[in-house]
Each structure stands twice: as C-alpha cells, then as structure tokens.
C-alpha cells in the first residue's frame, strides 16, 4: 500500500501506473503526469546476503567439498612463444599422491564464443607464459604442486612479440599460423597470414569533409597498459565427469550458461546433461566472464571420470593465466571549429590482445565505437585492431574498452581547450550529446537517454567552485575533469530471465540467472519486485546460487545491464503474477478481469473494495470450502532484452548502444614536490542513472569503481619484458591499492532522468565509475605542473623525473 502522498517523484514510467492512476486521479496535475511515491525503490535497503558474508557463512568456490574430490596443479611454460618438442611426465607420475598427469596431447577441438582460437591446453606450441602445458591430478593441492615441478618439457623457443605494433610488422612471426581457418561469428574474424585477429571499422558521415571543415586540430597517442581485475577471490573451477555420462561443473564465473553450452558442444552432450553451479563470487570485475579456465579444468577432469577435480588459481596464476585488462594504444585526432564545435574524430586503437583473441574482440569494438565519449562528432572514422601478442589473453575488465579510449578523448579535449584558449567546460558544453544528438553508432538520442550537462554541473560545483590552493613548499595543487559515457557491449540475443513464484503465505521466491559478484543485484531484484508487487522486501527471497538446472537462462552478467534488463524481467514477471491472481479472482468473484485491482494484500473489485480475496488465497489457485480448486498456481517466468540490439552494419554502425549512461568525474589533487607522489584530496562523480534503486549500494559501486581506476591510473600495471615474461605477478609488486590510497574525500551524486527501458527508468552504473578517473587525474596534473602525460600508471617516479626536467 502506498502511504501518504507527501513526496512526489514525477514518473511517467510508473510500473503500476494502472493502479496508481486509479488511486490518484485527483492528484494528476495540469500536465497530466502521474506522481508516484516509491516505497522501496530509492531506499537503502540492506543486502539480503550481507549477514551470511559478514559471519563467514557464505560459501565460495574453494569452500565446495565433494566426495572423491581430486585436485589439480598446472604447469606453465618458461617461454612465451615456443614449440613443444616433448613432455616427460614419468617422474611426476611417481610422486606421492599423484593419480594422473595430463597434457594437451590428443586434443582436437578449439573453443570460443566469438573467434574459436582457444584450446584447453597448449597442443603443439605455447603462446604465452601462463598457458597450461600439463597438469597433475593428485589427492591434495599441495602434492599436486610438488609433482608439477617434476614434469620435464623440451621447448624450441620462437621469437616473442609483446606489443601489437611489433606483431603488425611485416616480418613478424605468426602467433596463429592457421587463424584464417578458425570458426568465428559473422562480421568478425582474423585476417589470415597476419597477427590481426579482428579489424573493426566505423564510418560516420564524411571524415574528409569533417577534417576539411575543421579549423583546429589536436592529436595524440595514449596508452592504457595491461592490468588485472584482481578480485580478492581468485578464479577456480571444479569439473566432474559422472558415470551417467553427464558433466557437472562449479565455477567462480558469471556465465554458467555459456560454460554449459561450451562443455556440451565440445563433449557432445545435450545441454540438459551439463549442469553448472555458481556459488558465491568474491568479485569479478570482468575477468570471470566468457569462458576462461573451465575448458582447461574439464579437459583435466575428463581423464579421471567419476571424480570431481578442483583447481583454484594461485595469485600468480590468477594474474597471468586468466584474463588481463586493457593493453590498449589509442591514436586519436580531433578536428574542431574555432568556436569549439567538433567536426571530426579519427581514431585507431591497437589492442595487444594476447595469445588468444576470443575474449578480447568485443572489448576492442566497444572501445572503438564509443571513443567519442559524451560528445557528438558529426563525422567519425574509428578503427580497432585486435592483435595477437605473446602475452596472456585480454578480456573483459570493468569499463570494457571505454576507459581506455575515452582516456584519449578527455585528455585531447583539455589540450584542445588550451589551444583554443577556451574554458574546457565551455568546450565540452558545446559538444555534449543530448536530445537530438546522433552517436557514432548512428543511434538517435532523446532526453530520456540522460543529461550529461547536469552531471557536469554537479562535479563542477563540487570541485571547481572554490579557489584552487596556491602552490606551497611541499605541494603543487591541481584540479581535473572528465565526461563519461558508456553503453553496454552486449549481444543481440542477450536476455535476462526471471522465475517468480508465490508461496502459500503470500511470500515470494525469485530465481534468476544473474550472477551476484558484490554489485548488489540481489537487493535490486528485491526492491524492484517489492515495488511492483507492493509487498515488503522481507517477504521476497532472492536466489543465492545459480544452477543451470533450476535457474532461468541468462547470457552472462556483464555490461552493467542487470538492473536495466534483469530489472525489466523482474517487472514483467511480477506483472504476470498479478495478472494470474486477477484471472483466478475474476473467476471466483464472477467479474471481468479489468474490474479488478491489486494492492499487495488483496485483489478486489474496483467499485466495491469490500469484495476482495487475499493474495494467500490465490497463490495456489483458489480453493472453495468443499476443496475444489480453480485457477493457476502463481508461478511466472519472463525475460527481457535490450530492444533491437543489433550487430554492426557495413559502416560498423548499428543499434549497439541502446542504453546510455552519461556522467562526469573530477578531482582535486596535490603533488608532493619531494617525491612526485600524487595525493587525491577529493574525487567527485556524478552519473545520470535514471533511477537510484538503492542509495547506499549505488554509492558503494561508485566508490569501488573510482578506487579501482585510481589503482590503474597511479600504480597498477602488469609489466612484461621483451621475452614475454612478467616480473610483478604478485600483489606487492603489482601495487594493489590499499585503504591508505583511498581519496581523502569522495563526493558521489546522481541525476535521475528516467530512461525508457529499465525498471522505474533505471540505467546501468556498475562500470561507469572507472571511466573518467585516469583522464581527470592527468588533467589535474597538467593543471598543477603544466606537464601533459599520455600514459598510465603515472607513478611518483615518472612524474618526479618529468618535473625535474622542467
């Protein structure tokens, strides 16, 4: 039941407008809009899973124990590129507790969703330093790791390519000699005879004309090097080949259905015979998406049918043998009129995507088509080269190509502003997208896509409204700003589904295929369902595990799409349930269904509310006094896609954005003169999220994303030498940010321009907080010391050296 109408939130997308309308016709104002007060949406409801987590009772992959379980340890190569001449497992086989030693010999299949270039183990050659070469299956992990050291491999080293630009040279060795023969999705694919795994090209308008019309230009090359999502819980997987010829898998992954499809396809089983479980996840941030380690563990497990085989990554393996982020070099040129109006953008992105390209291809495409950021470019020529290198494969990392390419955009805009002798705010405002704008993809925006200017104004107020502190003995001071835009890089068939059932007492259970990784989707599900069903969140139980036997299908939980798409699926499933109850009630009350209303506790006759039936009496159909029962048991299913999500056309354009979240970020920094250390005094973020579902939770998302990107901007980088070896694959050398690196103060604000797709107008936010961090910090550095940087991480060492030169 809605309470007193003291506060109104204008919402022309009230999910139960029918009911609200009926109740509140007297409250319609002159514009005819419906005013709705939210009871659950917008509130800081506590997460339903926090108690288990804070008492140590939530169980994660490594907590899973199964009968007869064996443990695997994996041998990695000492060369980043080499032919495998021989593998001698005889010594290892004799070690204590060893059951079997496994290699890639005899493996004849490849896997991958986009470009099928992956094998579960190296077969003839190794292509990167973390690749699986052989594995020991033993009674415990310790014994397995001891035995692995006894495996002897003979290699014939090959030349190593560590950077895309080297891989593109004419005389570069081919990392995949037969890449032209690999299966791939239409519209993608390697260029045979080269190290190019994919080339994406987008053309909007007329680039030549765009540059001819320009009166001023800026260009630059920007590098966002390899990093790791580095969730605190490392990757892990358990695979079990059962005696009944089914496969069961547990994984620290967000894509159980993709794992199921891949294993079913490769092991030639109907999907119903492959079952995947996802326990609690200790963070994902991207690198536990697509299929990563599961095929390797499945290959190992296939040699010991009847036994589950568990493997959990060491931190080193988690850094080097799963998926990396970024590895992107962006060359960008912007043309503009003297008054600041952008006329053209030309971008070429080189992604050093590692030894296998399947997981990196869409990152490069997202980076390409959205590198225009929050701004309209009437003419654009955007290209991404996905290039093989002898380094670990790149895959999804929160932000998905957007922070890497918009790093260039936002830096160049500041540089352009200086060139034009114009305020960078005025320059940005001249070009922000809004109602009537057309994106690079050719999508037309309307007001409900969001208001970047409002976000910019909030950040400007937070950071720039007071005087900048003057330089003193110890510090230089600076402020910097960045716009932000992201759309989900999904797939046209991507859908999220919801199973909802009413229990006999009117409480509800909801199962979905969306993976909770900490982002709080379980709370969102509760709150959205509570709002539509008009029942308290305490009466709604949300799933804690995913099991492909019980959970409805979801493509994978990425792209900041869960609130929008998953939330929409929840709304649809709730509305179906209400309709089912009304249908039964119509029968019992002997009226038409449209004479009935629902208010969370009853279904009742509009014109005589005393004629009513309780939800409890309808949940399992309606039972008369004599026991006869009519009507359906209230279980519903529903799903939701992003409307008309497409694939690129011949110009690389298409409806591949659909749901846009705009934002702005800024910072106040000081630079310690003695050391070059950058201290972030204040970081501000504002995003137009359409509708805040949970105020405290969304704040935590932004704070976490900002922190992650501060790490990337100031200290995190996985460094590979010219032989493809990494010397800092551990936290102390990788420089993971600690609590002492958190900004002194964070301002986090939201604009709510309701969108057209998500529940109550909500849009995605999970990834967006990482996007504007690096450019706002580097823009602030220029403001402080007058030096432009084009690469991150900007460590104290690098900054000090440049400051000394000046």
């Amino acid at each position: 039941m809605y309470s007193k109408w003291t506060e109104y939130k204008e919402d022309s997308r009230a999910e139960n407008a029918e009911d609200a309308e009926g109740k509140n016709t007297k409250l319609l104002n002159s514009t005819g809009r419906v005013f709705v007060e939210f009871k659950y949406v917008g509130k800081s409801i506590q997460r339903p899973d926090a108690v288990k987590k804070v008492t140590g009772k939530a169980y994660f992959l490594d907590d899973v124990k199964l009968p007869g379980m064996l443990y695997a340890a994996i041998l990695r190569p000492e060369y980043a590129h080499a032919k495998i001449i021989s593998i001698d497992t005889s010594e290892a086989e004799k070690c204590e507790g060893v059951v079997k030693v496994v290699t890639g010999k005899g493996c004849e299949f490849k896997y991958g969703d986009n470009i099928r270039d992956l094998t579960p183990f190296a077969v003839d050659k190794v292509r990167y330093i973390g690749e699986p070469v052989a594995a020991v299956i033993a009674e415990n992990t310790h014994l397995a790791r001891e035995a692995v050291k006894k495996i002897k491999v003979e290699y014939e080293p090959l030349p190593v390519l560590v950077d895309a630009l080297d891989s593109l040279k004419d005389d570069a060795i081919l990392i995949h000699e037969k890449s032209g023969e690999y299966w791939h999705l239409p519209g993608l694919g390697p260029k045979a005879g080269t190290n190019i795994a994919n080339h994406y090209e987008l053309k909007k308008g007329d680039i030549k004309k765009g540059f001819d019309d320009a009166e001023v230009f800026v260009e630059g090359e920007f590098v966002y090097p390899w990093g790791s999502s580095a969730a605190i819980e490392p990757h892990g997987s358990i695979v079990w080949f059962h005696e009944d010829k089914t496969i069961e898998c547990w994984s620290s992954s967000i894509c159980p259905f993709i794992i199921r499809e891949e294993l079913g396809r490769v092991y030639d089983l109907p999907l119903s015979d492959v079952r995947v479980h996802i326990p609690e996840l200790g963070g994902c941030f991207g690198y536990k998406s697509d299929i990563t380690v599961e095929q390797t563990i499945a290959w190992i497990a296939s040699f010991v049918p009847g036994h589950p085989v568990k493997w959990v990554a060491t931190r080193k393996e988690d850094l080097l043998s799963t998926l990396l982020g970024h590895g992107m070099r962006t060359r960008m040129k912007i043309g503009a009129k003297k008054d600041g109006t952008f006329t053209a953008m030309e971008t070429t992105i080189y992604q050093s995507t590692g030894a296998y390209s399947d997981t990196g291809v869409h990152v490069s495409i997202g980076a390409g088509h959205n590198c225009g950021g929050a701004y309209e470019f009437p003419n654009a020529h955007l290209q991404s080269y996905l290039v093989y290198t002898n380094t670990p494969p790149v895959g999804a990392y929160r932000g998905y190509g957007h922070q890497e390419s918009q790093f260039a955009t936002e830096r160049l805009i500041d540089i352009l502003a200086r060139k034009l002798n114009m305020s960078s705010f005025d320059l940005r405002e001249k070009n922000y997208m809004g109602d009537g704008s057309v994106t690079a993809l050719g999508e037309k925006l309307i007001t409900s896509h969001g208001d970047v200017k409002k976000c910019a104004d909030l950040v400007r107020e937070a950071i720039f409204s007071k005087e900048k502190p003057a330089e003193d003995d110890k510090y230089y001071y600076g402020r910097g700003f960045s716009g932000v835009m992201k759309t989900p890089k999904g797939a046209p068939f991507s859908s999220k589904s919801c199973y909802l059932k009413f229990n006999a007492d009117g409480s509800v259970a909801i199962n979905m295929g969306g993976a909770e990784v900490g982002q709080g989707l379980r709370t969102v599900v509760q709150q959205v369902a509570a709002e539509v069903l008009m029942i308290p969140t305490e009466k709604i139980k949300v799933y804690t595990e995913i099991d492909t036997q019980f959970s409805p299908w979801e493509w994978q939980t990425i792209g900041s799409m869960f609130t929008t798409q998953g939330g929409r699926a929840v709304v649809r499933a709730c509305k179906k349930a209400i309709k089912m109850m009304k249908k039964t009630a119509a029968q019992v009350l002997r009226v038409n269904i449209d004479n009935l209303k629902y208010d969370g506790e009853h279904v009742y006759l509009r014109n005589d509310p005393s004629l009513k039936l309780t939800v409890e009496s309808l949940a399992r159909g309606y039972m008369y006094d004599d026991g006869m029962t009519v009507g359906d048991v209230v279980h519903t299913t529903s799903d939701a896609r992003l409307p008309r999500y497409s694939v690129p056309d011949a110009n690389g354009q298409g409806t591949m954005g659909v749901s846009h979240t705009f934002g702005a970020q800024g910072c106040e920094i000081k630079i310690e003169k003695a050391t070059g250390k950058i201290i972030i005094d204040h970081f501000a973020s504002a995003f137009d999220v359409g509708r805040v579902i949970n105020a405290q939770q969304i704040r935590g998302q932004v704070a976490g994303g900002v922190m992650m990107a501060i790490g990337a901007s100031l200290c995190e980088e996985l460094v590979f030498d010219s032989e493809g070896r990494c010397h800092n694959a551990m936290f102390r050398k990788y420089r993971f940010p600690t609590i002492k690196d958190a900004p002194e103060k964070q301002t986090i604000e939201f604009v709510e321009t309701p969108g057209e797709i998500g529940p109550f107008g909500a849009r995605g936010i999970g990834e967006h907080p990482v996007i504007g961090v690096a450019p706002s910090i580097l823009n602030a550095v220029y403001d402080a010391v007058g030096i432009d940087f084009f690469r991150i991480p900007l460590t104290a060492e690098i900054l000090k050296a440049e400051m000394d030169k000046k």
Partner: protein, 282 residues
C-alpha cells in the same frame, strides 16, 4: 617443502645443540613472514625449520644506562609499542612502522628482517644509525658484530652454520638527539622500499655535535654515509650545505637498476629525501 620438519624448543641451549649437529639444509624461522613467502614461492628449499619464536631468551627488551638490548624474536609490533624503545630509539620505531602491514608486524621480528639481509629491509638503516651490534650465539660460542659488518650482500650475512642472532644492542639516544626515518615507496602499505634513509643527530649550542646517516635500498647493502656528516660536524646546521650534501649522494651510493626502481631514480629520490630531512634539520 614436502617433508618439511619443524624443530621447536623453549630452551636456547637445547636448540643450539640440535642446530650444531644438523646436517640437513635448514632455515631459522621466527615470525615466518619472510621465510614462509620464500618457501611458498619455491625460492628456498630447506628440509627443516628451526623455530626460535618460543625462546624466551630471545624475546626480551632490556634497557640499561646507555643501550637497549632487543631480543631477535621480539615482534615488530611489540618493539613499536615498547615505551622505552619509543622514547630512546624512535628512529627504529619509525622504520618498523613502514614494514608491511599490522598483520605482518604482529609476526615479523628484527632477527628475521636483519637475518633476511635484503637491501630493502627497513629496520637496517635505523640499526645503522643506532650503532647496533648483533649478538650471535651458537653452541658453546658467542660473538658480537657491528651491524655494518653483519650484512655482506643481498641475502648474505656472516652467520655461520649453527649460529643464530640472539639480540641487538642499540644506542639509547640522548635527550638532545633527534632522528628521522624516511622512505619513498610507490604505495603506502606493503611497499618494498625504493629508497629509504635513517638520520640521527645531536645539536649542542646550535652546533652539530654528531650526525649519523644511512641509506637503504640503494645498493647491495645499506650504506653508512661518511662524506655528508663531515660537512656538518662542528658547524651550525646551514641550509647552504643542503645542496652540497645532495650532490654527494651519487658519490656515496652505488645504486642498482632492478625491476623495482632505476638507479637514477634512486639517486634522485634519495637526494629528495635527504633534502626533506635536512630542510627540517636546518
């Protein structure tokens, strides 16, 4: 690490006796914060570990008139919270606060930090300026070595087979002495030093009576500065000497290039640390 044996005792002489007879490859372990990491990363491969953490003889802090003796197995947390050490050897406390995290400091020991003999060991420059002596024991023998003579190079020291560090004897700083410990690392916690320095001085009638300066993480061993103190001794703390001091840094240290930091940066960083330090001092 498979058939690792742990040998523990609460009696020092018993442990030393066993150690003397030990034929296998061994490591001494106290808190284990270095040894366990080396074991897990397969960088050492001992067959047994001699655990000294239970020896009460190694866990005392004794204060007398002009020195403090700190047992080699006292945890860094306990050293930091000891009121006498805080009062009379603050430079050591400052240095230890830079080691790892509180979780590490609750286990790590001076004996381990010095015994590990890493050029980046934070305690070592502080021990230098406190004129530390290292008391070494073995079965039937005791000897004492100056800290600057104890460490020979990265992960190498003068300990012979059968010997362990019993304690450290450090100066008790006087009331007219002051000290600093400064470190440059690229992240606050768990940072492996890029360069660090320990500085101790005494002023009397505004003249520099004594000055001890040591640099760490800039060479294979910690370096005791000889040229820079000479500039100041007997004179007033003169800002004019700061530039000259900084220019002497590259003569005093022979920095190494490694993954963590380049040689040039280390010189620069050290110069800057020194400048920061002398600015306060002058």
């Amino acid at each position: 690490m498979k058939n690792l044996q742990l040998i523990k005792s609460d009696n020092l002489s018993e442990l030393l006796e066993l150690l003397k007879k030990e034929e296998r490859k061994y490591n001494i372990i106290a808190g284990g914060t270095d040894v366990m990491v080396l074991l897990k990363e397969f960088l050492i491969d001992p067959q047994c570990l001699y655990d000294v953490s239970g020896l009460s003889e190694l866990k005392e802090i004794l204060v007398d008139n002009d020195s403090i003796e700190i047992g080699s197995a006292v945890t860094m947390s306990d050293i930091i919270s000891d009121s006498e050490v805080s009062r009379y050897a603050p430079v050591l406390v400052s240095a230890l606060k830079e080691v790892g995290s509180p979780l590490i400091r609750n286990r790590a020991t001076l004996g381990g930090n010095v015994g590990n003999s890493s050029p980046a060991g934070d305690s070592i420059p502080a021990l230098f300026v406190l004129n530390a002596r290292v008391n070494i024991v073995s079965e039937g023998n005791e000897r004492s070595v100056k800290i600057e003579d104890f460490i020979l190079g990265p992960r190498r020291n003068v300990l012979e087979k059968g010997e362990i560090i019993k304690s450290f004897v450090i100066d008790k700083m006087g009331t007219d002495e002051r000290s600093f410990f400064l470190k440059a690392g690229s992240r606050n916690a768990l940072a492996i030093s890029k360069a660090n320095l320990a500085f101790r001085f005494m002023l009397k009638d505004n003249l520099v009576k004594s000055m001890n300066l040591s640099f760490g993480s800039v060479g294979p061993v910690v370096i005791k500065s000889t040229m820079i103190p000479q500039l100041f001794i007997g004179k007033k703390p003169d800002p004019g000497l700061i530039d000259k001091s900084c220019s002497l840094v590259s003569e005093e240290i022979k920095p190494i290039d490694d993954f963590r930091s380049t040689a040039k940066y280390r010189v620069k960083v050290l110069e800057n640390l020194l400048r920061k330090c002398l600015d306060e001092f002058c």
